[in-house]
Structure formats: structure tokens, C-alpha cells
Amino acid sequence: MIRLLVVLFLCISVSPALAVNPDEVLADRGLEARARAISAELRCMVCQNQSIDDSNAELAKDLRLLVRERLKNGDSDEAVIAYVVSRYGDFVLLKPRFEVKTLLLWGMPLVLLAVGVMTLFVAARRRRARPVGTPLSDEERAELDKLLRS
């Protein structure tokens, strides 16, 4: 029942109609594309893990209109996002910004790769330092010589 919770939540908050409605779409194709890209990175605050681009909750619609309004007024993508964050906080960003409190989040893959590579390196060096197997005894050596000579 892995999706049960999400699904329950979706059903509470959305009717089957979805996301961007035709009346919201901007006439300028370039602006609309930018609006879609920005929308995909902004969270619908009342939904479970949905971007405002995917959600049809009222709040998501308001945010979509807001994003388009700002874009029409000539804001850059960054300015639009900064504006939305100033109103709703970091929670609205689906891709958290790189800052002190997200240091571990963004750094984790790199740290782990580095630790892994270092561990392997150390293990390999240690292994190389250790002699491989046990040396042949005198009898074994004699036996081997005999075999090789015949």
C-alpha cells in the first residue's frame, strides 16, 4: 500500500481536473515556457509533494497566475522565484537552495563518494603491503623444480 497516503491526500485536495487551464496560458510562447519551467520547481503548499504545475488546488492556481504576472512585468526567472520565496518561505522550493542548512543535503553524495574512494584506496594499499599467500616450503620448491625440469 505504498502510495496509499499520497493517494488519500491527493483525493482530499484535488478533483480530477488538473494543473494549467487554457485561460491561464500566456500568449507569448517564450514567456509561457519560462513560466512552466519555474512552476515545476515550486511546491504546491497544500499538496503532498506536487509542484504547482501539476496541482489544481486553488492555491497552486493563484501561484501560477502570480508567476505569470511577474514574468509579464519583465521580471527575470530568479527574481520571480525570489519573490515567491519572500512570500512563502523556503518550503515552496522543490529544489532547496545551497546554503548552510542544506550543506549536508547537497554535500552528501560528494562526501560519500570521497569516503568510498578513500576507503578503497587505503584498503588496496594495506593489501599490497601484506605478502600474498604463504611462501613455498623447501620440499614444495624441490617438487616444483622437479616438475619444471621434467
Binding site: M1, L5, P16, L18, N21
Partner: protein, 663 residues
């Protein structure tokens, strides 16, 4: 009466689980065969009891016995039979019972198919399985009893959540749990090995089939869930990096790593400690997933805090098993002697790289999933970690893995020849680049990354085929000889090739859909036309009302044409389920080759118009088709002779070599 019997069987199952958890371990300490042998009988009895209990609950659902609270909450007398049955696990209590059933099912399998296992190992493995089942039986009995009665019995049930009334979701949980819980066997083997302080290549050989089986089921479960979300949720997405999805994806990633490291251990006796650790980690992630999904901690930290009984109980189980396992690992891992040596450039080296990347990816998904929870608990700051984060981090991590995958099987054990492998992959690389170039040209430029991604997929597929060709000598020796050699290759070689081919196919699907899908959102009135993408045109013909057993539906009819010629038609509907007054979308989907046209109905506008969303999803079936190929690889590999000679009936007839290896 029968309901109480089901409940009672569960209590008896707890008793047998406790016996199975304690006595065999005692038997191993004292060297008492009869106590050790008890484990197998207890495992079989346990399975029969839980099976009976589960059957009783199913019976209650099928007969719509609303005096059982669980049935009343999740069923309806008018529901089709299949959804009455799937309703058993469409809720918390029932799904935990299914979890338990699959756990004891695996114990029973170990008990009956593990006759050639050393007595002490088998007793310990079954005892560890019983520790887990004791904990979960207690959990069900104390916090999530599915057999609770309701007095007086209501006349009608509240129905199952409509989005779950779907064939995909009927079989998704059992498959997923087969995977999730299947890894418990690997866990138990790892713990047993740590207890005994002894581990060898034979151990890896016993563990591998269980890993393969669990991995195959989990692959199927995840793919199924993804396809269900795609057609049922109505906006055409197929993966959302949702915490619940991640909960199932993490054990899959770790399990994939385990599959590869167990290979090294079986063939070369290397990476022993690591493999044991991975086996523990994989099942720990399964437990963590269960906790995340079942405790409600994901929906909101506050919901978890207001009714913490269940959450705290699972958390306790989690801490007990994961903490205990790691403590044991810390104490005993040094007892396991390290084995075979290998140069960095070798098959082992490639598999180590695979493990390094897969575990890092697992940890990245884990961090991303838990980070908002932990940060909020510690500082009160609320942040979101969503799809854009996972796409970039996970995507970047996967790149080197995808490049390296075809190299692995081409490198020799111990010391490989990288340049040689590169040379042998020349054709595959060239073909991949050619695919990318042709695609780039055909699409008149556009983003360069998309053709390269599809080229990478082609390279993966051809690289896997190259491996099979080289092994059988196709192109070098006479066709008949090559065909005979190909047929004589071990099944596991085909398993590897198929799994890698599947990966390539899935990659192609993902890239194609992400880069080339088109979306059209229009308000349509009957008779209107819309460009649907992929060269198809859609005409909206009108709406029709319909009625199902427990819902009413508004369906839109569309005619699909290409170049003015009618090709096919599509129905797309919105349903309203009567009992819960809950709407769902039933998207209209038509398949053209590997691509699909996806039509979803939106809001009704004034004057007979309705908002229609039309997606053209090029090559989307590759995403799940690839998973299917991977699964086939898993099944083919499971049928490998090396694993089959491990079964008791064959072992007696097997040649001395195989017997020697299995000792």
C-alpha cells in the same frame, strides 16, 4: 465465529514464532539436533496459521461481513469481487497482515527448500526470521488488529478508496512486499553468518537466489506502481520522487548493489564483510520504508505526534533490528576473513565501482527523503526536497554507472584489460554515437543532451549484446558452432545481459519522454479539432453519461486521425464513486507502437466546452518495458544451473564438483 478463529490463529502464530525464535538458537549452542530441527516445523506451522488468518480476513471481505470494523471501513457490498479481495490489503491492518504472511511464506520456503543447508546455519536463519515475525505479529495484535468487531454491525460499508479500485493497485502491494520482505532472508542469512562467525562462497551461493527473487519481485512491484500512477492519477507523470516511492526505491538500489557484490563473493570470495553489511542495509531500508509509510510520519510530523502508538511501535522494531544488526556487525565482522585479491581494473573492480555508486545513490535518496523531517525536528525550519533535487543529484550519479555497465562483464576476474574491453566495445560505442547523431539531425537540432541520452541507452543495449557475442564467438567461428556455444552459455550470462539491456531500454524511454513529449491544453466543444502531437489529430465528439457497479461516469469520446484518415477512437472519463462521493480520472490512453496518446478530461466550462489535456508520450512504454526485460533477466538468472544444483533433489545426482562447492 470464524473471525475469532482467524484472530486466534494469529495469536497461535505468535506462540509458534516465539518457539521458532528461541529454541533453535539454544539447539545450536548445545549442539542439539532435535531443537535445531524444530525450526523447520515451526516455520511451516507458522505459515499455515498466518495463512489461515489471512484467509479468514479475505473471507470476511468477500462475504462483506460489516460486523468486522476493518471490512466496514474499506469495503462495499456492490464492489466487484476482485476489489473486495484487493481491499484486504488496501488498508493499514490488512497490508500489515499481508506483510507478515509473506514473511512467514519466505521462512517456510527456507525451511522446505533449504534441506542441504548446514543444520546450524539453517536453524539460525530461521530463528532470525522468527525474531522479525514475532515483532510484526505483536505489532498487528497490539496496535493494528484487523479482526476487531463492530457492534451493532452497519448495513453497508464505507467502500475502498476509489483510486485503489484498480487492477494495477490490486497486484502492486503483493509484488512490492514479495520484494521488500524477500530481502529479510538475505538479512537473516547475514545475521546467522555473523553469529557463527563463518562465511564462505557457499554462503553467497545460498543467498543469491533469494536476493534475485526479491529483486525481481521488487522490480515488478515498482514498475507496476509507476504504471499505475501514470494512468490513474491522470496527469501522465510516471515517477514523482515521492517519499513513499523512495521508500520502495531505496531497497531496490541497495538490493541491486547486493546482487552484484554477492556475485563477487560467490566467484572470488572477496568483499565478504561488505556483502554482509549490504544484506543488512537492504533489509534495514525495507524496514525503514515500512516505518515511513505506515507511521504517517510523512504526511505530517504532527499527525505522527498526535497518534504515535503505531509509529513508535514500528520505530522500536526498527531501532531494535537495525541497531542490533549493526552492533552485531561491529562485534563480529572482524572474525570474517577477507578473501581473494584483485587489481583495480578487473571484473571485481568494476563491481566495486557499481557498489560504490549504487550505495551513494541510495544514501542520496535517503538523505533527500529524510532531510526535511530531520531539519524540521531539529530547527523548526521547513524546506522541501522534491523532484528537481533528485533528478539532478541522482542523474549525475547514474551517468558514470551507465557508462561503466557494459565494461564490467567484458573484464576478466582478478586482472582485466581496460583498453581491450574498450576496443571490444568500439562497435557499441560507435553505434550509440551514430544513433545520437541521426536523432539530432532528424529533430533539427534541439537540446543536444537528449540524443546523447538515447545514444547512451543504445550503447548499453549493444554493449550487453557484444558480451554475449564475444562469449559465443559469433562472427569468429562457424554459425552452427556459435549457436551451440550461445545455447551452452550459463543462464546467468543471459541474466546479466538481459538486465543491462533492460536498463538501456528504460533509459531510452525516460529520455525520450522527458525531452520529446508534447502537451496540449485546450478547451474543446463537440466537433472541435486539436493537434495531439506525434502527427495525430484529435476530434472531440461529445460527452456521454454512464454508470458502473459503484460509480457514475462522464465519458468524453474522441476520434483520432492522421492525415485526415480516422485511425482509432479514445474514451476518456471522470468517475464519481457513490459511497465516498469521490471523483477520479480514467485517462484515455491509446498505444501506437511504443508511444502513447494520453487524453485526460479537466473542468467543464460554460457552453458545453470542457478542458482537455492531451499528451503525446513518445517511447513511453520503454520505461516499463525495460523493467520487464530486467525482470526477465532476474528470472533467467534464477534458473541458472549453479543455483539449481543447490536444491536438494539435484544435489544427490550432481557431479562431485558441484557437491564439493555446495559443502
Amino acid at each position: 465465529m470464524i473471525i475469532e478463529l482467524g484472530h486466534y490463529a494469529l495469536v497461535l502464530a505468535l506462540a509458534t514464532a516465539i518457539i521458532q525464535a528461541a529454541l533453535p538458537v539454544l539447539g545450536v549452542r548445545r549442539g542439539d539436533r532435535s531443537l535445531m530441527d524444530l525450526a523447520s516445523s515451526a516455520a511451516i506451522v507458522s505459515f499455515l496459521l498466518v495463512f489461515f488468518s489471512f484467509a479468514v480476513l479475505t473471507f470476511a471481505y468477500v462475504t462483506s461481513d460489516f460486523s468486522v470494523r476493518n471490512v466496514w471501513e474499506n469495503s462495499h457490498s456492490l464492489k466487484p469481487l476482485i476489489y473486495k479481495i484487493s481491499g484486504v490489503w488496501g488498508n493499514h491492518e490488512g497490508s500489515m497482515l499481508l506483510w507478515l504472511l509473506i514473511l512467514v511464506f519466505f521462512s517456510m520456503l527456507v525451511a522446505s527448500f533449504g534441506r542441504n543447508l548446514p543444520d546450524t546455519l539453517k536453524a539460525n536463519v530461521l530463528a532470525v526470521q522468527a525474531w522479525i515475525s514475532t515483532a510484526f505479529t505483536l505489532f498487528i495484535l497490539l496496535t493494528s488488529n484487523p479482526f476487531a468487531r463492530l457492534v451493532p454491525a452497519p448495513g453497508e460499508g464505507r467502500d475502498l478508496n476509489p483510486v485503489l479500485q484498480d487492477i494495477g493497485l490490486a497486484i502492486h502491494p503483493p509484488l512490492l512486499y514479495l520484494g521488500y520482505v524477500g530481502f529479510s532472508v538475505c538479512f537473516s542469512f547475514a545475521i546467522a553468518a555473523l553469529i557463527e562467525g563463518r562465511i564462505d562462497a557457499a554462503w553467497a551461493r545460498w543467498v543469491r537466489p533469494w536476493t534475485l527473487a526479491a529483486w525481481t519481485a521488487l522490480t515488478a512491484g515498482i514498475a507496476m506502481g509507476s504504471y499505475w500512477a501514470y494512468y490513474e492519477l491522470g496527469w501522465g507523470g510516471w515517477w514523482f520522487w515521492d517519499p513513499v516511492e523512495n521508500a520502495s526505491f531505496m531497497p531496490w538500489l541497495a538490493g541491486t548493489a547486493l546482487l552484484h557484490s554477492a556475485l563477487v563473493m560467490e566467484k572470488r570470495e572477496a568483499l565478504k564483510i561488505w556483502t554482509v553489511l549490504l544484506a543488512i542495509l537492504t533489509f534495514s531500508l525495507s524496514l525503514l520504508g515500512t516505518f515511513l509509510v505506515r507511521s504517517g510520519v510523512l504526511t505530517s510530523v504532527h499527525a505522527f505526534a498526535t497518534d504515535p502508538t503505531r509509529g513508535v511501535f514500528i520505530l522500536a522494531i526498527l531501532v531494535l533490528f537495525i541497531g542490533g544488526a549493526f552492533a552485531l556487525f561491529a562485534l563480529r565482522a572482524s572474525h570474517l576473513k577477507a578473501g581473494g585479491l584483485f587489481a583495480p581494473i578487473s571484473r571485481e573492480g568494476a563491481l566495486v565501482l557499481n557498489n560504490l555508486i549504487l550505495t551513494t545513490a541510495t544514501a542520496t535518496v535517503l538523505t533527500g527523503t529524510l532531510y526535511p523531517l530531520v531539519l524540521e525536528a531539529l530547527t523548526g525550519d521547513k524546506i522541501s526536497v522534491g523532484a528537481p533535487f533528485f533528478n539532478i543529484t541522482f542523474g549525475l550519479l547514474m551517468l558514470p554507472l551507465l557508462f561503466a555497465a557494459p565494461f564490467g562483464p567484458l573484464l576478466a576476474w582478478k586482472r582485466g584489460d581496460l583498453a581491450g574491453a574498450g576496443q571490444r566495445l568500439f562497435a557499441a560505442t560507435a553505434a550509440g554515437l551514430l544513433v545520437a547523431a541521426v536523432l539530432y539531425y532528424a529533430k533539427n537540432g534541439g537540446p543536444i543532451l537528449a540524443p546523447l541520452g538515447i545514444g547512451l541507452g543504445a550503447y548499453l543495449i549493444l554493449g550487453a549484446v557484444t558480451d554475449l557475442m564475444l562469449r559465443s564467438g559469433i562472427g569468429k567461428v562457424a554459425g552452427r558452432v556459435a549457436a551451440r556455444r550461445l545455447a551452452g552459455l550459463p543462464r546467468s550470462a543471459f541474466g546479466t545481459a538481459l538486465a543491462h539491456i533492460g536498463l538501456g531500454v528504460t533509459l531510452i524511454g525516460i529520455v525520450a519522454v522527458t525531452a520529446y513529449e508534447t502537451e496540449t491544453v485546450v478547451e474543446m466543444k463537440p466537433g472541435m479539432l486539436a493537434e495531439a502531437g506525434g502527427g495525430y489529430t484529435l476530434r472531440f465528439d461529445g460527452m456521454r453519461e454512464g454508470r458502473g457497479p459503484n460509480y457514475t461516469a462522464d465519458s468524453g469520446h474522441f476520434t483520432v486521425s492522421q492525415g485526415g484518415v480516422k485511425v482509432t477512437e479514445i474514451w476518456s472519463s471522470k468517475r464519481l464513486y457513490s459511497a465516498r462521493r469521490m471523483p477520479t480520472t480514467e485517462a484515455g490512453i491509446r498505444t501506437f507502437g511504443l508511444s502513447q496518446l494520453y487524453v485526460s478530461l479537466g473542468d467543464e466550462m460554460g457552453g458545453g466546452g470542457i478542458v482537455v489535456r492531451i499528451w503525446w508520450k513518445p517511447l513511453i512504454l520503454c520505461i516499463w518495458g525495460g523493467a520487464l526485460v530486467m525482470m526477465t533477466g532476474g528470472i533467467v538468472s534464477l534458473s541458472d544451473r549453479r543455483l539449481r544444483v543447490g536444491t536438494p533433489s539435484r544435489a544427490r545426482k550432481a557431479p562431485p564438483l558441484a557437491v564439493g562447492a555446495a559443502e
